[in-house]
């Protein structure tokens, strides 16, 4: 026993001496930098790929190991969580209006956030298309076919889903082309009369349509429509309407949060990476419309070019669109006034 004592003491001393070194080394090697990306519903597969690619790129560039965490949900729901204190470093949401809300209510980023990155801070665009069942049994070709009696239309709730807001506005733009603002309202009212289930987010709606077999047509993100065919098999067809809306899902860095987490450099790197050829390639692969001409050209064959209105030109920007259409008691609420 006594013989053991010195050696034990020596070991202890050694351990104590080594501790700071070990701790320091362990810290550098194994404690990765955590980055939280709070995103909207259909980007799950996209960011899974992008995060892997960026982590590899960043490790090669700086030697830092990254642990990128994801949260997905309806765009409005996600913005609400960030406003309530969800510590996102970057947000990648479905529409600029939701990031404006974060800027306005929680002051986590400046009001001019959209001018800080190229292309209005939207590294890719997309649009709203129709997904119908194989053979298009209800012969749905354009918006006019959606309001026919007996057609079931599936779309999420525009109150909580970004994709649904784009779809709603695309529909409204179609309606107002026929008869001004009154035509828009009239069309929207008829359209939502044909909606039997209102999901919380894009994924909810797709599951209802594809898995539960409800409805004849899904108003879907273009990328989500392609993904549905990949995931659920070839029982569906994509129909491009005569016109749609240019959906611009923006990305932004939350200044206050990255400064608190000391992650500004990596978060900036992450957002810039979205514009890099490697990321643009992944974006195209997942059926979004890349900004990068090379990637856009490579994936152009699958995506049809149709006339698209923009939010600024047709609706005067998100602020105005939200107040007119989606705010408490605004147009969308009026549709659902019990008859």
């Amino acid at each position: 026993m006594t013989k053991l004592l010195p050696s034990r003491r020596a070991m202890m001393a050694g351990a104590v001496a080594a501790a700071p070194f070990l701790a320091g080394k362990a810290f550098a090697d194994t404690a990765p930098i955590t980055l939280l990306n709070v995103s909207y519903d259909p980007t799950r597969e996209l960011y899974k790929d992008i995060n892997t690619a960026f982590a590899a790129y960043w490790k090669g560039k700086t030697g830092q190991v990254l642990d990128i965490k994801q949260s997905h949900g309806g765009s409005g729901k996600q913005a609400r969580a960030v406003i309530d204190g969800l510590q996102a470093d970057v947000v990648t949401l479905a529409l600029a209006g939701d990031i404006d809300e974060i800027s306005e209510r929680a002051k986590l980023l400046p009001a001019n956030w959209q001018s800080r990155l190229p292309n209005n801070s939207t590294p890719y665009t997309s649009t709203i298309v129709f997904l119908v069942r194989k053979g298009n049994p209800k012969a749905i070709r354009d918006w006019a076919d959606l309001v026919k009696p007996g057609v079931g239309v599936i779309t999420p709730n525009p109150k909580t889903s970004g994709g649904a807001r784009w779809a709603y506005l695309a529909a409204f733009a179609y309606g107002s082309k026929q008869g001004g603002a009154a035509g828009g309202k009239d069309y929207i009212t008829k359209l939502f009369k044909n909606v039997p289930v209102l999901g919380a987010g894009a994924r909810d709606a797709t599951t209802t349509f594809a898995q539960r077999n409800i409805g004849d047509v899904l108003l879907s993100w273009e990328n989500e429509a392609f993904l549905t065919i990949d995931e659920f098999g070839p029982n569906f067809e994509i129909v491009y309407p005569s016109s749609s809306i240019l959906a611009e899902p923006p990305v932004a860095l939350l200044d206050k949060n990255v400064d608190r987490h000391k992650t500004r450099t990596v978060a900036t790197g992450y957002l810039n990476f979205l514009y890099s050829p490697a990321a643009q390639e992944l974006i195209g692969k997942h059926h979004y419309r890349p900004r990068n001409p090379a990637a856009a050209a490579k994936y152009a064959s699958g995506l049809k070019n149709i006339p698209m209105v923009t939010i600024d030109q047709a609706f005067g920007g998100w602020k105005k669109a939200t107040a007119t259409h989606f705010a408490e008691g605004a147009l969308f609420d009026q549709i659902y006034k019990p008859a």
């Binding site: 609400r80 039997p196 539960r212 409800i214 989606f326 408490e328 659902y336």
Partner: protein, 290 residues
């Protein structure tokens, strides 16, 4: 502690005139823990819930609650919950009666499984019920054949609410049925209109109070239910949008005060009805004894 505690307690009791004297120690400690915990976990949040809506002003709160969409959601939640709780009455009596009165193979397993809706997490129940009652699900397809819409209709919500409420009624009835005296049992098991009538006349009043309490518990649980309902409801405003979902939607539209207003109204109504039902039950119990 011992001797002192006993000796000290009379003086302590005098210091606290609202407590009846007891030689047991630990009143201060246990009440302290209870009140502190209750304060943090229940009272503080409730105060926040009760205060938050008023930043809209009284007119704003009224407006928020009187909106047709909110009224429709409250009506749907409370109405369907009441209906589901009422359907649980005959189902509960049937199950409780069979489980307490008859010996049959598998009785104990069936008895244990009555609590499954309580033990099964609500989201799991919701997804499973949707899979069953969707038009391409096992039972939904059957119903669709005869032209009945189950999932994504009020009927679907109703089914989910019956599911989660069932254990409450059965478990409230079982002890009473167990204690009902033998004569009633004989009457019930002998044929003949007279004895059956007698059985109904004797059994129902005896079951009354616990049936009511079972129904009220099932009702209270159903009103607030979210996880098992949200998947199967169609979530259409004014048609299949339940009140808890409306709270979530209001919260997600940054309408904190409106969400709190609806939440407060729900707590007030369901708590109020629980208190009222408890009163009714006491009254019945007294009359039964008299």
């Amino acid at each position: 502690m011992t001797a002192q505690a006993i000796l000290a307690s009379p003086t302590k009791a005098r210091r606290r005139p609202w407590v009846q004297h007891s030689i047991l120690p630990g009143f201060g400690l246990s009440l302290g823990i209870t009140l502190a915990y209750l304060g943090v976990i229940v009272v503080l949040p409730l105060v926040a819930l009760a205060i938050r809506p008023w930043e809209l002003g009284p007119a704003g709160v009224f407006h928020a609650l009187a909106a047709p969409r909110v009224l429709a959601a409250l009506k749907l939640s409370f109405g369907l919950s009441a209906l589901a709780a009422l359907l649980n009455a005959p189902l509960g009596v049937l199950l409780a009666w069979t489980l307490t009165r008859y010996q049959f193979p598998g009785r104990r397993i069936l008895d244990a499984l009555v609590d499954l809706p309580f033990a099964l997490p609500t989201a799991v129940a919701g997804i499973a019920l949707t899979a069953i009652y969707a038009p391409n699900g096992a039972l939904g397809a059957l119903a669709a054949k005869v032209g009945i819409k189950t999932a994504y209709s009020p009927l679907g919500i109703f089914i989910a609410l019956v599911f989660i409420g069932l254990p409450f009624v059965v478990r409230s009835l079982q002890p009473v049925l167990q204690e009902l005296d033998h004569e009633v049992e004989e009457a019930a098991t002998t044929l003949g209109a007279n004895s059956l009538q007698r059985a109904v006349r004797v059994i129902l009043p005896a079951l009354g109070p616990s049936l009511i309490s079972g129904i009220s518990l099932a009702f209270a649980r159903a009103v607030g239910e979210y996880g098992s309902v949200v998947f199967i409801a169609g979530n259409l405003p004014g048609k299949t949008e339940i009140a808890p979902l409306l709270i979530v939607i209001k919260l997600e539209s940054y309408d904190y005060a409106g969400a709190a207003a609806v939440g407060l109204a729900m707590v007030a109504i369901s708590f109020g009805s629980l208190v009222a039902i408890n009163g009714l039950q006491l009254m019945l119990a007294r009359r039964g004894r008299a």
